[in-house]
């Protein structure tokens, strides 16, 4: 079994998600090779064969050219799987490669399954087990689903050159806007509810959010009371979010709020009231005073 891993490189940097491909390959077992349209100065900690094309020459986003490079590498390596991260780079490129190879594509794999792959569907509410029906298959893996694995070592670099311009003209990058807070993209959200008591206690929750590497969210009453800016509001009248981890601090769980956050992958609720409706959607309900628990958790995470 052999996998060709397609590394990610953007704005002159090798992306960490590349190592999730390594994590996936490790679970898959067998050999692997990697292809990267990147730069000599940013080689991955990867001891295998690295097919390297120069991003400066090929462009960071030039699917036509990148496809050509991949097909060339596939011809040389003859892998069973061509593996991408399910990202703006991967989901854009993978179907092009699959179509050219007349190969099956399995998208957004979250786990390996008996004889196939486990993929999410129905907004992550359900799973499917999918098996490729072709000898080669193109795969994309869900970001964050597989451990970041740095195999270590120095790659054996095989340089690739590409010619031609492609049908797309890449104009450039536009930096992220600094407007408010986009909670819909956050991986971790720690939200404050009325249970935090008063405006002066909000920083306690913000500190926990920071410790978990996430954003501060808030329930509607907290926003209405002016404790937290509206851009942080989670719920039907605020933002509908689905982070990997949602921590509800002192939020009882009004229906508008639940509708806005219950799609989160993992929900922790901290509440004094064991019977609060938030308990219905929480994976873990910590029955405690949030003003005692949150600082303790923050302190523990800081260790």
């Amino acid at each position: 079994m052999k996998a060709l891993l397609i590394g990610e490189y953007r704005e002159g940097k090798l992306l960490d998600t590349t190592y999730e491909l390594c994590g996936f390959a490790a679970q898959l077992g067998g050999e692997s090779a990697m292809l990267l349209v990147g730069s000599e100065g940013q080689l991955p900690d990867y001891g295998g064969t690295l097919y390297l094309a120069d991003a400066a020459a090929c462009g960071e986003y030039n699917p036509d050219l990148h496809k050509k490079l991949i097909l060339e590498t596939v011809a040389r390596e003859n892998p069973d799987y061509v593996v991408f991260v399910h990202s703006s780079y991967g989901w854009d490129l993978a179907p092009r490669v699959a179509a050219a190879l007349k190969a099956a594509q399995v998208s957004e794999i979250v786990a390996l399954a008996d004889g196939g792959f486990e993929v999410g569907c129905c907004n992550a509410k359900m799973r499917r087990t999918v098996k490729p029906a072709t000898s080669k298959a193109v795969l994309t893996i869900q970001a964050g689903a597989f451990p970041v694995t740095r195999p270590g070592g120095t790659p054996r670099v095989e340089r690739l050159a590409a010619e031609g311009s492609g049908t797309l003209e890449f104009v450039g990058y536009e930096p992220a806007e600094a407007k408010g807070v986009d909670l819909t993209r956050a991986e971790v959200i720690v939200s404050a509810g009325r249970g935090v008591g008063k405006k002066e206690n909000v920083p306690v929750i913000a500190a926990l959010a920071k410790a978990l590497g996430g954003e501060l969210g808030a329930s509607r009453p907290v926003v209405d009371a002016g404790w937290v800016d509206h851009s942080h509001q989670v719920g039907t009248t605020g933002q509908t979010v689905s982070p990997k981890l949602y921590v509800a601090c002192g939020i009882s769980g009004a229906i508008q709020h639940l509708a806005g956050m219950k799609k989160s992958d993992f929900i922790v609720a901290i509440n004094k009231d064991k019977d609060a409706p938030i308990g219905e959607v929480a994976d873990v309900l910590v029955v405690a005073d949030v003003l005692q628990f949150a600082p303790a958790l923050t302190a523990r995470l800081a260790k």
Binding site: P221, A225, T236, T237, G253, I255, A259
Partner: protein
């Protein structure tokens, strides 16, 4: 000496012809003024308000001559009523003089204005005139000195006050001058019956008779000219309300309160839905603007206005008039602005109090219809989402429609698809179906029905939002879609009676669905429980509690149900302290008119204002009868930071705790014999059955 007076004294009968000619001319000028306005009213769409003459005339008489609606608000209303009656009496007196002088005397040679009748006549008219002056003075002080908040003063107000004062005062001056020369000298006995005229006559002491006569003539002509001016001014100043407001009593809607025109969606000739321009409204809507006296009673009661939102119902009506008279082709919704239109909670406080029978709410809904149906506009993105959810899942939360009946799991409720032979269909509504807090209300209501031996059926996942919030937002299309689905389902089961715990569902199913073909009695649970108690099918163990009660708009003002819930709560042991604003004057919770789906971005919170009023009563408990109110007050109590001090509960929860045979969850100290049954669940079940049998046999 006979008690009478010479008509046209000092003026001479030669004045009759020019006087009548001038009066006719003035009436012509008056009529012409209204004819011109009539053309403006006609820009509106047709509407039949020329049916049921007997009822309409009855209302007209009560409103005009009884001053019933005006006098409901004491400040302003009482002086107005007395001024009106005074002025009307003077007018009637003048008419009597006219008949006497120009018909009875020349044609029949009889003098009615003599003897005891004349004495009474003189006295009554003098008092009426004095009353009118005093009331006018009172109104003048109110408007120009006290200046109540929100009461606008325009140039018309000065003119009209001056004109009326001048007419009344010159009238007395004429009388005084006449009396100074005649009665005081010839028949002082008679002068006692004209006390004001007598006083006025004192002004002329010291002048010689010819001077007084000259003055009398001058006053007479000035008075006459002022009266003619008064007639001419009627269509051209605020005095117009004498005609328009009065006539509007005749045109007042006679259909059930809250009736909204059901748009025929099959009619392909309709190109404009709702009102974009004033000409898309009816003639009555334009006429309303002319009937408005700017008394600002609507504005005083508007919950949106009271919480610093841009809406004033009075201003909206005024803008309709401005558009009709000034810019009929302009976009009315833009002139009024979306913020104003979306601020309305359709609480009907404005319409209920309006002394001029103006229909504020439907104008706003018509304009909203234009916004939603023609422009696809929403008050906010959250409303867009909620409306989309109603469309797809039949509830504003967007929760799976199939889960709608889950609240009833394990309860004594029949799913209609399994067994439709039930006593009542409980139309649960979205909040009681999905919202955790309101589910408790539904569960308690079902418990009450079980105790009364009432077999309850629900539609479960076959039930959809009744469509009320979207209809009030103007989305008639979505309303009719969901309504028709509900109606079809309800009809298929041959339902005999529907009970709702939501006043919005109650109004919609009971009244609005009729237009779409549903003809089943619909009842709100408060009256239903009231009836069960009255018929002794249900018995409660009263347990003392202090509370204040919130009349929801759609149960109170819309359906006139005020007593039934109070009676039920009293039967449960409640001691009521009313809020300052209750009954017809109740203050909205803020959730009507589809606002339940919207965020309250403008001004302060209506719910907090209402919670504040509840707090002022000192009662620890606020009882509501509506899921929207309950939701708003739960929020409002948190926002107002008075958790612990004030609690909000639904009537069903109070009643269910006091059921004679099911009070095991009670926290009260009162121990009742009935409680013993609750110890043993088998006995409890048997108890239910017993009550049911006894109840039904009664």
């Amino acid at each position: 000496m006979e008690a009478t007076r010479e008509i046209y004294w000092n003026i001479g009968h030669g004045v009759v012809l020019p006087m009548y000619c001038l009066t006719l001319a003035a009436f012509g000028f008056l009529a012409w003024g209204f004819v011109k306005r009539l053309q403006v009213y006609r820009q509106g769409k047709p509407l039949n308000r020329f049916d049921r003459y007997d009822e309409r005339i009855g209302r007209l008489l009560a409103d005009v001559f009884g001053q019933v609606k005006v006098a409901r608000v004491k400040d302003g209303g009482i002086p107005h009523a007395f001024f009106f009656w005074g002025f009307l009496t003077l007018f009637a007196g003048t008419i009597i003089v006219m008949f006497q002088a120009d018909f009875f005397t020349p044609l029949m040679h009889v003098n009615l204005l003599s003897g005891e009748f004349y004495k009474a006549y003189s006295f009554v008219l003098d008092c009426a005139g004095l009353l009118a002056i005093l009331m006018l003075a009172g109104l003048f002080i109110r408007r120009f000195v006290v200046k109540p908040a929100g009461l606008e003063v325009v140039d018309d107000d000065y003119r009209v006050h001056v004109l009326l004062f001048a007419i009344l005062i010159t009238g007395f001056l004429i009388e005084g001058a006449r009396m100074a020369v005649t009665e005081l000298q010839q028949n002082p006995e008679l002068a006692r019956f004209s006390p004001v005229g007598y006083l006025a006559a004192q002004l002329f002491t010291g002048y010689d008779t010819p001077s007084i006569k000259t003055a009398h003539k001058v006053f007479w002509w000035v008075h006459f000219a002022l009266v003619l001016g008064f007639f001419c001014a009627i269509p051209r100043t605020k005095l117009r309300h004498m005609v328009t407001t009065a006539v509007n009593s005749f045109f007042a809607p006679l259909e059930p309160k809250g009736t909204i025109a059901t748009i025929d969606l099959e009619d392909e000739s309709i190109e404009q839905f709702g009102a974009a321009r004033v000409t898309d409204l009816t003639w009555k809507d334009i006429f309303d603007a002319d009937a408005c006296t700017s008394c600002k009673r609507c504005q005083d009661r508007c919950p949106a206005y009271a919480t610093e939102k841009p809406l004033s119902p009075m201003k909206v009506v005024k803008q309709v008039g401005e558009a009709a008279f000034g810019a009929p082709e302009a976009n009315l919704c833009e002139a009024v602005t979306q913020d104003v239109l979306w601020s309305c909670t359709t609480c009907r406080a404005c319409q209920e109090i309006c002394p001029a029978n103006i229909e504020h709410v439907n104008k706003i809904i018509e304009m909203r219809r234009n916004l939603t149906l023609m422009e696809g506009a929403f008050p906010g993105d959250e409303v867009r989402t909620a409306v989309g959810n109603v469309e797809v899942n039949g509830n504003p939360f967007g929760l799976a429609y199939a889960a709608r009946g889950e609240w009833a799991e394990g309860l004594d409720v029949t799913l209609m698809e399994r067994d439709s032979d039930v006593d009542i269909l409980y139309f649960v509504g979205c909040y009681a179906s999905f919202d955790k807090r309101n589910r408790e209300v539904a569960q308690n209501f079902v418990k009450i029905c079980a105790a009364a031996g009432v077999k309850v059926g629900i539609l479960g996942k076959e039930e959809k939002c009744c469509g009320e919030p979207v209809r009030k937002l103007g989305n008639e299309y979505l309303y009719q879609m969901t309504a028709r689905e509900n109606i079809e389902t309800i009809k298929a089961y041959g339902v005999k009676r529907i009970v709702t715990t939501c006043p919005h569902c109650f109004n919609t199913l009971g009244r609005d669905y009729r237009d779409l073909g549903l003809d089943v009695p619909v009842e709100h649970y408060t009256t239903f429980i009231g009836r069960l108690l009255a018929e002794e099918r249900l018995s409660l163990v009263p347990d003392r509690f202090d509370f204040t009660y919130h009349d929801s708009c759609y149960l109170g003002r819309y359906m006139d149900i005020f007593e039934a819930p109070r009676t039920v709560l009293a039967a449960a042991g409640g001691r009521l302290t009313e809020m300052a604003k209750s009954g017809y004057e109740s203050f909205c919770c803020g959730a009507g008119g589809g606002r339940i789906m919207a965020e309250e971005k403008l001004g302060s919170r209506i719910s907090v204002a209402r919670v504040g009023m509840a707090r002022e009563t000192g009662a620890p408990l606020l009882v509501s009868n509506c899921p929207f109110c309950l939701t708003m007050f739960e929020d409002g109590i948190k926002m107002a930071d008075c958790e612990g001090e004030l609690r909000v509960r639904d009537l069903a929860e109070i009643v269910a705790e006091r059921l004679a045979h099911a009070n095991s969850h009670r926290h009260g100290q009162v121990i009742h014999v009935e409680e013993c049954f609750a110890e043993d669940s088998a006995a409890e079940d048997a108890g239910y059955g017993l009550v049911a049998r006894i109840g039904l046999s009664q």
